[in-house]
């Protein structure tokens, strides 16, 4: 056997540390180059201590996204004025100069007229260069319209967090947790923190942590769990309410946590509002003095439960209101509706309560800390719904009952109370400032933009009272309309605007563009990379280029820079960059241009407090371990515990304040198309049974199946992985998605494996092939959401499968603007 050593010796091998940007995990990578060709991509071993141990198949095969011959290599101009996915755009290649000149003229005219008519949209672009640059550009330009994608992901979860504890983001404290109840967070395939959760959950499971996964389809995460609870789609909130009911009935609750950290003891009147003193302080019932008083001193002992009379009026504690609302439910109804046996719900609740060890403390590094080693986790599972905020509120409330929030082994919150205003009633402005209606009367608590709403507003601006009509959009690394519910409607909006698309491949959005600009990939460009924290670590990282396959002169960063310069806005843009990035010690100077690398150096120096940039180039990142104090004592302990402190909103009275503001505005402006009943349901201060009934479920008679979507490991939604030949070859079914159907259901419908079927919802129909499985509820179909590309700019093999988003009903969460990916119902027939 030949050894080949001589050939290998002739090669020049080098390694470059960088950060993967395929998805939002931002894994540390070590790129091996052989004679300057990307030979392999490995995980960066040094990053394992802080985040990822390995990398996923997308990261491993990332060079094939960069080397993709179907990438866009030159600016393109549309010659066919008619837009549509069935139209040939008639592309002609143009020079960069012509492209910039055309775009600048268009932008200049809009800016002089009304800068709000320009809309910037990005998705993954946020992570390629950081959203601070587009934010700085739009601020310098003068438009409020910069729209990201979070309502396609988990925005409702964030907003529920914000309303409840003043900021968003959390992780189960897996290293200390003994019982993880996971509502559909698929950390083995997708998910935001997947590459940390995967190895920590696996290790914890080996040491005895029990994992229970609640979801209608057995994902890989459920497959590796101790138990799978196949809940009926949309009914998980009922399961949580049922568990809360048992916890309260059995007195398996953390009274200390509820009274000292939350507003559960606050007295509520019959209108649902808090009893307040003349200073506006909410009052509790003091056990000692038997009076309604503000919880202002440690001498006061608030009653958690009960009904009390104050000034001849009846009040209940917020906790009592919740307990009473749960008493309208019964085990049998919950079990039937959720499709989970009552005995199972009771057993899970008992396990959770037992494992929580309510009242226990533990000493870590000399500190005595609350110990509740149970956590409830979710990502899109509870969030991607019409009532996503209420769904996750239910999850938070159960954890408040257990006292596991920010306890050792519990749910570790991120930046608690960073923005107290989130816990106040929303202003609910009208007319809306932004085209996506964020924080307007339509989506009053939407603080993460409303990705799917831009198209709807553009199609009917007057319906929403928007005082201007958008004329131009730039889409940066997003396939926005393709990735929302009811997507075909979304595409119609692109016929109404002048569109510029910056991307690496001809996405469906690019097919609707007037001008397309090629971007560099994450292996070809500089960036101060976003990173993921964990409960015990955080780190700062960079991305650095290792190639430039098609010798492209620009990436997202330099395109924005060029536009700002040509618009005469460069110095305003630089000032905004300094502001948005918070550059105090290392600001960019006005009056000169910067390369991406130069800017990354400034950002690195600022974020690492002056660590040499050569360190970043050599190591790719700089990490830090957090102390017990940082992890456990700076959150709810510091912000909410005890008298005289703000409290977590067990009872979200602020939402009633929001409802009040909406009603006043509706009256004032005589708005006709706001259904106040819908807002009353969505803005309930407590999660209720009604939140398990999204619109499609109320009209299910002719649609026997629920249809849910999910993510597979080997694809991103934007389309840029659809041409990756390694990913498409990961098994015989990797290049196509299927309609997952329970085998027994298939037998009843006389369907065989791979039969062609049509799925029909009230929005439309799609065809695809079935895959028979035992791993799904008999009343549910599941289709992964990142196949069925339509773009003519992709080869046939990249266009296989089902575009399921195109037939999902769109009923955005009125609180957060979250898109409703998991609420639709459908019919199925053999083709």
């Amino acid at each position: 056997v030949k050894t080949g050593a001589s050939a290998a010796n002739e090669s020049v091998i080098r390694y470059v540390k960088s950060t993967c940007a395929h998805c939002v995990n931002f894994c540390g990578i070590n790129i091996k180059l052989e004679n300057n060709i990307i030979r392999s991509i490995y995980p960066d071993e040094a990053r394992a201590e802080f985040y990822n141990h390995g990398i996923c198949p997308k990261g491993v095969s990332g060079s094939f996204n960069t080397y993709n011959p179907y990438r866009i290599k030159t600016p393109l101009k549309r010659t066919n004025p008619k837009k549509g996915l069935d139209q040939d755009p008639g592309w002609v290649e143009i020079s960069w100069d012509e492209a910039f000149d055309t775009i600048t003229k268009k932008l200049q005219r809009i800016r002089e007229d009304d800068p709000r008519k320009f809309v910037w949209q990005h998705g993954h672009g946020k992570y390629l260069i950081g959203d601070k640059f587009p934010k700085a550009f739009t601020a310098a330009f003068g438009t409020p319209n910069l729209v990201h994608r979070t309502t396609s992901c988990e925005a409702a979860r964030h907003v529920a967090d914000e309303i409840t504890w003043g900021y968003h983001g959390f992780l189960p404290d897996i290293n200390e947790c003994n019982y993880l109840l996971n509502f559909g967070a698929n950390y083995f395939e997708g998910e935001q923190f997947a590459r940390w959760l995967d190895h920590t959950v696996t290790d914890a499971k080996e040491r005895g942590m029990k994992v229970v996964v609640v979801e209608p389809r057995l994902s890989n995460s459920a497959a590796k769990a101790n138990e799978w609870i196949p809940v009926r789609p949309g009914k998980d909130i009922l399961l949580l309410l049922g568990m809360a009911r048992i916890l309260i009935q059995e007195n398996w609750i953390d009274r200390e946590f509820l009274t000292q950290y939350t507003n559960a003891p606050n007295l509520v009147d019959t209108n649902g509002e808090f009893l307040r003193d003349k200073d506006g302080q909410a009052l509790v019932w003091d056990q000692v003095t038997q009076q309604a008083v503000a919880f202002s001193s440690g001498r006061i002992k608030p009653e958690l439960a009960g009904r009390f009379t104050h000034n001849q009026k009846e009040y209940s504690t917020a906790f009592q209101v919740f307990a009473d609302s749960l008493n309208t439910l019964n085990d049998k109804d919950i079990a039937e509706e959720a499709g989970v046996p009552a005995a199972t719900i009771r057993r899970l609740t008992e396990e959770l309560a037992k494992q929580a060890q309510i009242g226990a403390t533990v000493v870590r590094n000399g500190q005595t800390l609350r110990y509740r080693p149970v956590a409830i986790h979710t990502f899109r599972g509870l969030a991607a719904k019409q009532y996503g905020v209420q769904n996750w509120r239910a999850g938070l409330i159960v954890q408040m009952l257990l006292g596991s929030i920010d306890a050792v082994g519990g749910l570790n919150l991120h930046s608690v109370h960073k923005k107290p205003g989130y816990m106040e009633p929303a202003e609910a402005e009208y007319p809306p400032t932004r085209v996506d209606l964020q924080e307007s009367i339509f989506f009053p608590h939407a603080t993460h933009n409303v990705a799917q709403q831009v198209a709807k507003t553009i199609l009917e601006p007057k319906k929403y009272g928007l005082p201007y009509t958008p004329e131009m959009q730039i889409f940066y690394a997003t396939n926005r309309p393709f990735s929302t519910t009811d997507s075909k409607e979304q595409f119609k909006s692109l016929e109404k605007t002048y569109n510029v698309v910056i991307d690496i491949v001809m996405s469906e959005t690019a097919e609707m563009a007037d001008i397309v600009l090629p971007d560099l990939t994450y292996l070809e460009s500089w960036h101060l990379s976003p990173t993921r924290y964990t409960p015990a670590t955080k780190h700062t990282a960079i991305r650095q280029p290792v190639t430039n396959v098609f010798n492209l002169p620009h990436d997202g960063f330099s395109i924005i820079w060029e536009l700002a310069s040509r618009l005469g806005l460069r110095d305003q843009y630089i000032e905004q960059i300094n502001k948005k990035w918070g550059l105090k010690k290392n600001p960019l100077k006005t009056g000169r241009d910067y390369s991406a690398k130069e800017v990354v150096e400034n950002l690195w120096l600022e974020k690492t407090k002056g660590k040499e940039f050569s360190y970043a180039v050599e190591h790719g990142f700089s990490g830090k371990h957090l102390s017990e104090n940082d992890t456990y004592l700076k959150g709810v302990e510091a912000k909410f515990k005890g008298a005289g402190k703000p409290k977590m909103q067990f009872y979200a009275e602020s939402m009633l304040g929001t409802l009040f503001n909406i009603k006043e505005t509706v009256k004032q402006h005589d708005i006709k198309n706001i259904d106040l009943d819908d807002y009353q349901v969505s803005l309930s201060p407590l999660p209720l049974r009604v939140h398990s009934m999204p619109v499609p479920h109320r009209n299910k008679d002719k649609y026997p199946f629920y249809i849910i979507t999910y993510k597979r490991m080997n694809r991103t939604q934007s389309g840029n992985t659809a041409m990756n030949p390694l990913l498409n070859a990961l098994g015989p079914e990797a290049d196509e998605n299927f309609v997952l159907i329970n085998e027994q259901t298939a037998i009843e419908l006389k369907l065989k494996e791979k039969d062609k079927v049509q799925i029909e919802t009230r929005v439309g129909s799609v065809e695809g092939r079935v895959k028979l499985t035992q791993c799904i509820r008999p009343d549910t179909l599941a289709v992964s959401y990142h196949y069925g590309q339509q773009s003519l700019g992709m080869p046939d093999y990249a266009r296989k499968g089902i575009w399921i988003n195109s037939i999902l009903e769109s009923h955005s969460d009125l609180v957060s603007g979250m898109d409703s990916f998991n609420d639709s119902v459908c019919r199925l027939k053999k083709v």
Binding site: G4, P43, D198, T202, L218, A223
Partner: protein, 229 residues
Amino acid sequence: MTKFVRLIDMDRCMGCQACVAACYQENHYTPGSPWNEMIEYEIGTYPHVGKVFGTMGCMHCEDAPCQTVCDAIDVHAISKNEYGVVLVDYDKCIGCGYCDTVCPYNVPQLNKEVTSLYGEDKLSPLETIPQEQRHPTHHKKNNVMEKCTFCWHKLEQAINSNQIDKIGVDPQFTPSCDLVCPVEARFFGDLDDPDSEVSRQIGTKKATQLKKEYGTKPQVYYKLSGGDF
């Protein structure tokens, strides 16, 4: 002596296929002849159902039937080296397929026709690396049998540079599939070294070999996870 072995822990494997993609990337995959494959199947009936994940590549058997049959027909394209690695010499292979017929694990992959990854003769820079600059195990040819080499091109570099102790430890000398696993479900190293991680894992996890009844003595061990495999 040195005997390289792999352990695949199916309890930990989550089916992500990073190891499959890593093999493709590292070993100049061409369509139709994967060297590493994810096997995924369901156990049970709804709602009492589970899924099992595990990957299959060459077992590098101590008594390799593929080598036996290749020798028997006097082709001698398959050999097992002193480190326990079974390799195919593409220049000698006649593509007869006997090795695949006798392999209890259906490992050998006949690369009938080397085709480009993106189709339509569009080549990535990786595919344009000339044969002479590639390791012999990456000289892709039509009608030749291919299979996992334990990333011999990496092991060989460690051996040639007297760094054999770094195999399974240092990324540049470790098979890529074992390197990229996000959940440490794969280990590689010297079974004859009682202190190696792979030895320890095989022992403490009570790992086993597949289809032992064939007497092939595979050098890939599995920690099984319910059901057969």
